[in-house]
C-alpha cells in the first residue's frame, strides 16, 4: 500500500447557516508506504491524527485529498461498490472492544455476519468458520452462543480480532487494540497478533500511545505530530538513533520501569500540544522544540530521506 499526500480536513462550522469558519487539519499531507507482511507502528500524542490516518486508509473516512494506492487501485477515488469488494482485504480493530460489538447479538452471529453479507459462505460453512476462528484466537467455540457483555475486556478484544480475521484480510488497522486492557492481558493480545501475522502473512498498521507495545510489535515506526509525519524509520533505528527532536523527547518522556534509572537526565518539554485548528506556522513542533531557530518558525520542513525519513531543519546528529 502506498499513501501519497493524504489530507483530511474537518470543517469547523459556526452559526445557523453552518458557515465553515476554518478547518481542523487532522491529517496534513502524509505520505508513506507499507510492504506486505510488515507492521508499521503509528505513534504520537492524542489528537495528532493517528486514528484519522488509519480510518482514511480503509476508507472509513473520505480523504480531503491525496491517494491511497492498494494493489494498483486508488482507494481514495474508487466507487463505493468497488470499495465494498475490497473491504474483505482491509479490516480494522478498534480501541474499545465493547462499543464496537453489537450488544444484542450473539458472538457467533456477530462473527458470521460479514461472511454472509459478502455472500462468501453458506450458513453451515460460516458456522464452521466461526468455530475455527474462535479457536485461532484462543476462545472456546462454546462461547459463540454468548453475548458480548458476558466477556472480559481481553476476551472481547479477542472477539474483535476474530471478527477482523473472518474475511481473511490482507491488511488490518489495529487502532489502540490494547490500550484499554490491563498489562497482563495486553501481553496475551500482543502475542496473539504476532502469531496470527506469521500464520496468515498479515500486514498491520498498529496505532498506540504506549511505546513499549509499539516497539514490541512493529518493524517500522512512524512518529506523528499535529497531523504530520515527523520521522519514519526501522524500529531499531527510531529507538537507537532518533533524529527528530520530537522523537527524542517522546522516547525520553516515557517512564522506565526500572527504579535504578529514576535519576537519569530527562528533557521535559513545557506546554501542551497546539490545536490542530490553528497549527503553528513553519514546523508544527517549533513552539515546544528546545532547538527551534528562526527558519523553523517560517518554513515547513519536508520529509526527506530514503530508509530513515525525517522532517526537521536541524536533525539531531548521530
Amino acid at each position: 500500500m502506498e499513501v501519497k499526500n493524504l489530507k483530511k480536513y474537518y470543517p469547523i462550522k459556526k452559526g445557523i447557516i453552518s458557515k465553515t469558519v476554518g478547518y481542523v487539519k487532522a491529517v496534513d499531507d502524509v505520505s508513506f508506504s507499507i510492504y506486505p507482511g510488515e507492521t508499521v507502528g503509528l505513534v504520537g500524542e492524542s489528537g495528532c491524527g493517528k486514528s484519522t490516518t488509519g480510518r482514511s486508509l480503509v476508507r472509513l473516512e473520505d480523504p480531503t485529498s491525496g491517494q491511497v494506492i492498494f494493489e494498483g487501485k486508488d482507494l481514495a477515488s474508487i466507487s463505493k461498490k468497488e470499495m465494498r469488494e475490497l473491504r474483505t482485504d482491509l479490516q480494522i480493530i478498534f480501541q474499545d472492544p465493547y462499543s464496537s460489538l453489537n450488544p444484542r447479538k450473539r458472538i457467533g452471529d456477530l462473527l458470521a455476519e460479514p461472511l454472509l453479507a459478502h455472500k462468501l459462505a453458506s450458513k453451515a460453512e460460516a458456522a464452521e468458520k466461526v468455530n475455527h476462528i474462535l479457536e485461532t484466537v484462543g476462545l472456546s467455540k462454546h462461547y459463540k452462543n454468548r453475548y458480548p457483555h458476558e466477556f472480559s475486556g481481553g476476551q472481547r478484544q479477542r472477539i474483535g480480532i476474530a471478527r477482523a480475521l473472518m474475511l481473511h484480510p490482507k491488511l488490518i488497522i489495529c487502532d489502540e487494540p490494547v490500550s484499554a486492557l490491563d498489562v497482563s492481558i495486553q501481553a496475551q493480545v500482543l502475542n496473539l497478533l504476532k502469531d496470527l501475522q506469521k500464520e496468515f502473512n498479515l500486514t498491520y498498521i498498529f496505532i498506540a500511545h504506549g511505546l513499549g507495545a509499539v516497539k514490541y510489535i512493529s518493524d517500522r515506526i512512524t512518529v506523528m505530530y499535529l497531523g504530520k509525519i515527523m520521522e519514519m524509520a526501522k524500529t531499531k533505528e527510531i529507538f537507537e538513533h532518533p533524529m527528530h527532536p520530537y522523537t527524542e523527547i517522546l522516547l525520553n518522556a516515557y517512564p522506565v520501569p526500572n527504579p535504578h534509572m529514576r535519576d537519569r537526565e530527562q528533557i521535559v518539554v513545557e506546554g501542551d500540544v497546539p490545536s490542530p485548528a490553528h497549527p503553528p506556522k513553519g514546523c508544527v513542533f517549533h513552539t515546544r522544540c528546545p532547538f527551534a531557530k528562526d527558519i523553523c518558525r517560517e518554513k515547513v520542513p519536508e520529509l526527506n530521506g530514503t530508509d530513515h525519513l525525517i522532517a526537521c531543519h536541524f536533525p539531531l546528529s548521530q
Binding site: E45, S46, S152, G153, G154, Q155, D182, V183, S184, I185, Q186, A187, Q188, L190, N191, H209, G210, L211, G212, A213, K215, Y216, K236, F239, I249, L250, L251, N252, A253, Y254, P255, V256, P257, N258, P259, H260, M261, R262, Q266, V268, V269, E270, G271, D272, V273, R288
Partner: protein, 341 residues
C-alpha cells in the same frame, strides 16, 4: 520520620442487588511523612475503593466494615461526617481518577480553588485569590492571572489536571491521594506532572498514595509498593526489591508482561493466562489460584495470609510458596524478643 497513616486489615463492602460484595478485603499498609506508596494492580482490584475508604467518600451503598485507619493516631473509620470534612482538605487531599468530571463546569477556576483555601486556611477573599494564582503558577500554568477567571471547559486536559493538583496541594495536606493522576494524559504532559509532584513532595514533606497501573510510573515515583489482586494486597515491599526480586507469582507475571522499550528485540512477552475472578464469585482459597503457574492443591482450599519475610526492607507476601521464609522470619523475631527480655 513519624508514622502518618496506618491502614490495618480494612474490609470494604457494597450492598448491591445481587447481595453484598466485598471489594477490598484485609488491605493493610502504612506510610510515613514524605513517603510515597504506589498501589498497583489490574482494573477492578480495589485501588480506588481503598482510597475512597480512607477519604470517607464511598458511594452510599458502601462502607468499611472491618479494620482500622489511623491518621496521626486518630481513627478515621468511625469518625463523624463533620469531623471528617475537616480532615479532608486540612490533612488529606485527593486527586480523582476523572479530572474532567471533578471540576465544576459552572464555576471559574478561581472560585473552585479559593473555596477550599478560605475554608481551611482562613484567608480573606483577596488573600485567597492571590494564593490561588501563586499555586497555579507553581503547577506550571501559564498566564495564571488570566486563567483564574476562566471556566474549566476552556482548558486542555493537561491544564485541568494541573488545576486539580493545585487545588489538592493548596491547603498543604499531610497526605495526598492521587488516583491515576496522569493516565488520561499524554506522555509529555505526564512527564511534566510527575516532575511537579516530585518537587512538591520534597518541598513540603507530603506523603503520597499514588494509584497507577503503569509500572513505569511506579519505578519513577514510589518509595514502596503494594501490589493488589482481587481486593487484597498480595505483596508489599520497597520499590527496588519489587523490581529486582519480586516474589508473589502474580507480581512475577506482571513484571514479565510489560512491553518496554528497553526490552531486548527478540524477547517474547509472557502473559498471565485467564482473567481476574468476579467479586460475586470469589475463590475460597488463594484468589490467584486459577491463573498461577505454581498453584498447589492447598491453594484452592486454604486462604494465604499477608506475612512478612524480612523486616529491614519490610517485604510481605500473601502466598504459601513463601511459608518457609515467613516461618523462619517469625522464629527469628521470636528469638530476638527472647534475647531482649
Amino acid at each position: 520520620m513519624g508514622e502518618l497513616l496506618k491502614v490495618d486489615k480494612i474490609k470494604t463492602e457494597f450492598k448491591t442487588d445481587k447481595g453484598m460484595v466485598t471489594s477490598v478485603d484485609e488491605v493493610s499498609f502504612d506510610l510515613k511523612e514524605g513517603e510515597t506508596i504506589c498501589l498497583v494492580g489490574e482494573s477492578g482490584c480495589g485501588k480506588s475503593v481503598t482510597s475512597l475508604s480512607i477519604m470517607h467518600l464511598l458511594d452510599k451503598n458502601g462502607s468499611v466494615t472491618h479494620g482500622s485507619i489511623l491518621l496521626n493516631g486518630k481513627e478515621l473509620v468511625n469518625m463523624s461526617e463533620a469531623e471528617m470534612r475537616k480532615v479532608r482538605g486540612n490533612e488529606i487531599s485527593m486527586i480523582f481518577q476523572e479530572p474532567m468530571t471533578s471540576l465544576n463546569p459552572v464555576l471559574t477556576i478561581g472560585d473552585q480553588l479559593t473555596e477550599g483555601i478560605r475554608l481551611h486556611m482562613g484567608y480573606s477573599k483577596k488573600e485567597a485569590r492571590d494564593y490561588a494564582v501563586e499555586m497555579l503558577k507553581k503547577v506550571g500554568i501559564p498566564r495564571a492571572e488570566g486563567i483564574v477567571d476562566d471556566y474549566p471547559h476552556r482548558l486542555s486536559g493537561g491544564m485541568r489536571q494541573r488545576v486539580m493538583i493545585a487545588m489538592a496541594l493548596s491547603c498543604k495536606p499531610k497526605l495526598l491521594i492521587a488516583d491515576e493522576p496522569t493516565t488520561a494524559l499524554d506522555v509529555t504532559i505526564q512527564a511534566q506532572i510527575l516532575k511537579l509532584m516530585k518537587g512538591l513532595r520534597s518541598e513540603s514533606k507530603t506523603a503520597i498514595i499514588l494509584i497507577t497501573h503503569d509500572l513505569g510510573v511506579v519505578a519513577e515515583m514510589a518509595d514502596k509498593v503494594a501490589v493488589m489482586y482481587a481486593g487484597q494486597v498480595v505483596e508489599e515491599t520497597d520499590v527496588f526489591t519489587l523490581f529486582d526480586n519480586p516474589k508473589h507469582p502474580y507480581t512475577l507475571g506482571l513484571m514479565k508482561s510489560i512491553p518496554h522499550i528497553t526490552n531486548p528485540d527478540d524477547m517474547r512477552l509472557e502473559s498471565i493466562p485467564g482473567s481476574v475472578p468476579s467479586v460475586y464469585n470469589m475463590p475460597k482459597g488463594c484468589r490467584f489460584y486459577d491463573r498461577c503457574p505454581f498453584a498447589m492443591k492447598r491453594c484452592l482450599e486454604e486462604k494465604p495470609e499477608l506475612r512478612p519475610i524480612e523486616d529491614k526492607k519490610s517485604h510481605s507476601i500473601r502466598c504459601f510458596l513463601y511459608e518457609k521464609e515467613e516461618r523462619e522470619f517469625e522464629e527469628k523475631k521470636q528469638d530476638e524478643k527472647e534475647v531482649l527480655s
